[in-house]
């Protein structure tokens, strides 16, 4: 199954947040890089059906983004998320499991499993308001995995995680990427350097690069920084560079 994004656009008053983005994502980890305000969050929100695009479509197989069928295969971790006061980690996951349509017995089993996976089983009865930023983020990751998503969208998932947790998180995402489509946005290159099978780069609402590590052929961080310098039109563009609506060979 593939995720198809076709000429997706969104603008806010006089600012274009996403400009005719087209791509197809298959199984694996896809790293979305871009500076703050590049349009990463808008794109991810449109992929999750949270924001309606001005034009364009998002489909997974036959399911359109607006359908219940699409949302039932989706796992999403937003950049910021809240929780109802008084919720413990267990309550929060049970609530999210109910929204994701899991039966109570399955939800309880899956909650235990995920709390153990993200290392929060000893804090499961603790109120979320007492959690540190990293613990909250791990809980967010756990809720995204509740329904065993075929499409996992993570917006800045490593924010607030300590180095040890980052390594653990990368291993987990790498494993999930073997079976599902994982789209991970960040502005920290090292987060996706090791695990992403494909790199996507956004600038001013446009997809400026869509390729693999081989297409880049150099240090990702240097390449990423180069994209934000003035582009020299005489210099040869690497494979995967998106020009207009076309991708130079190597893209999808």
């Amino acid at each position: 199954m593939e995720l198809h994004i076709d000429r997706l656009s969104k603008h806010y008053k006089n600012k274009i947040a996403a400009d005719r983005i087209s791509l197809s994502l298959g199984r694996g980890v896809h790293g979305l890089l871009g500076a703050n305000g590049a349009g990463k969050t808008t794109l991810m929100r449109m992929i999750c059906g949270i924001l309606r695009p001005d034009s364009g479509t998002v489909t997974f197989g036959r399911a359109d983004v607006s359908t219940e069928e699409y949302r039932s295969i989706l796992g999403y971790l937003p950049q910021d998320f809240g929780y109802y006061p008084g919720f413990t980690a267990e309550d929060f996951l049970m609530y999210m499991a109910a929204l994701k349509g899991l039966r109570k017995t399955d939800a309880r089993c899956r909650t235990e499993e995920l709390l153990s996976l993200v290392g929060l089983e000893t804090h499961k009865k603790q109120k979320i308001k007492t959690y540190s930023g990293g613990m909250k983020q791990r809980l967010g990751i756990a809720q995204a995995l509740l329904n065993r998503p075929k499409l996992l969208v993570l917006d800045e998932p490593t924010a607030g995680l300590d180095p040890k947790e980052r390594v653990r998180f990368r291993e987990m995402i790498d494993r999930i990427g073997q079976e599902s489509i994982v789209l991970l946005s960040t502005h920290i290159v090292s987060d996706i350097e090791l695990i992403a099978d494909r790199i996507l780069m956004m600038k001013d609402g446009r997809l400026i690069f869509n390729g693999t590590h081989e297409d880049i052929g150099e240090n990702l961080e240097e390449f990423y920084l180069k994209q934000f310098d003035d582009i020299n039109p005489s210099a040869p563009a690497p494979a995967g560079t998106v020009t207009g609506s076309k991708i130079k060979h190597g893209g999808i």
């Binding site: 806010y12 008053k13 600012k15 947040a17 703050n36 305000g37 969050t41 808008t42 929100r45 999750c48 059906g49 949270i50 924001l51 309606r52 219940e68 949302r71 039932s72 989706l74 999403y76 937003p78 910021d80 998320f81 809240g82 929780y83 109802y84 006061p85 609530y95 999210m96 109910a98 929204l99 994701k100 349509g101 899991l102 039966r103 109570k104 399955d106 089993c109 899956r110 499993e113 153990s116 996976l117 809720q143 329904n147 065993r148 494993r175 073997q178 079976e179």
Partner: protein, 269 residues
């Protein structure tokens, strides 16, 4: 002999338990992550999903208890004020200024406020994005909660309505003016506020609106305005119809808005 054997067996079990330490599972995480387990879990454990009716039941548990409590309090107040012991001459004199339907008309705006506040909880606590991306999305959550509380409120108002002509010596028109009108007016005024504002501002404004409606009905009765309104033919039915339609239209707009995240691009970094 048999009893002795049982004692020995118990002792042996106890001793073994104290001596034997159960080893911690070594490859639990690996097992949970294995593709065999995942496939089996997907096929057998997780394939049946809950239905809409079960979803409604689960949502009922997540509605705050004080919502139910408030309904119960209003109902209890109506019954207590109607009961015989209160009808003795002394309290009756004290309550002459504020008859039962007027006291209720001052409480009912807060019943409407509690229902609207329950609907606006996702936005207030930042759960909107998570709920919008779930299978039963924010739209479904709102419909479920408003549906449950709406039916519950409707039942309460329906139970209170016949009490007027029977026990409070007020005609149906006056009872409707005191019970239905404050509810519909509060809904009509607070729903646009919930649609347009977020967080603390929204809470303060909605509480203020409800308090104003409550005070309005108390003063309207004291100033004889309600009695004169009831005496004007068709005024109360027309007001009920107007605010009823307005409340339904506002509710529709609110539910439609919940299909997409209300977000301002200028808020992004």
């Amino acid at each position: 002999m048999k009893r002795n054997h049982f004692k020995q067996k118990t002792l042996l079990t106890k001793t073994l338990r104290s001596l034997y330490t159960v080893p911690a599972p070594e490859r639990k995480d690996t097992f949970f992550q294995s593709s065999d387990y995942r496939a089996a879990a997907r096929e057998t454990l997780y394939s049946p999903r809950i239905s809409w009716s079960v979803f409604l039941q689960t949502q009922m548990h997540y509605i705050r208890k004080w919502n139910w409590l408030l309904t119960l309090c209003i109902f209890a107040a109506a019954i207590l004020l109607t009961l015989h012991p209160w009808q003795t001459p002394a309290p009756q004199e004290q309550l002459q200024e504020l008859s039962t339907p007027v006291i209720l008309s001052a409480c009912i705006p807060f019943l409407a406020l509690a229902t609207i506040a329950e609907a606006g909880r996702s936005a207030r606590f930042g759960m909107e994005e998570l709920e919008l991306s779930a299978r039963f999305s924010l739209h479904a959550v709102l419909c479920a909660r408003l549906g449950i509380l709406g039916v519950e409120n409707l039942l309460l108002l329906a139970v209170l309505m016949p009490l007027g002509p029977h026990f409070w010596e007020t005609d149906l028109s006056m009872t409707a003016a005191c019970i239905l009108l404050p509810y519909l007016l509060t809904c009509t005024l607070t729903l646009p506020a919930v649609r347009k504002l977020r967080g603390r501002d929204c809470t303060i404004l909605c509480t203020g609106i409800s308090a104003l409606v409550s005070v309005f009905f108390l003063t309207a009765y004291a100033a004889d305005f309600l009695t004169r309104a009831v005496d004007t033919p068709a005024l109360i039915p027309a007001a009920l119809l107007f605010f009823g339609v307005a409340a339904v239209l506002e509710l529709r707009k609110y539910i439609r808005q919940s299909e997409e995240l209300t977000w301002n691009f200028t808020l992004t970094g």
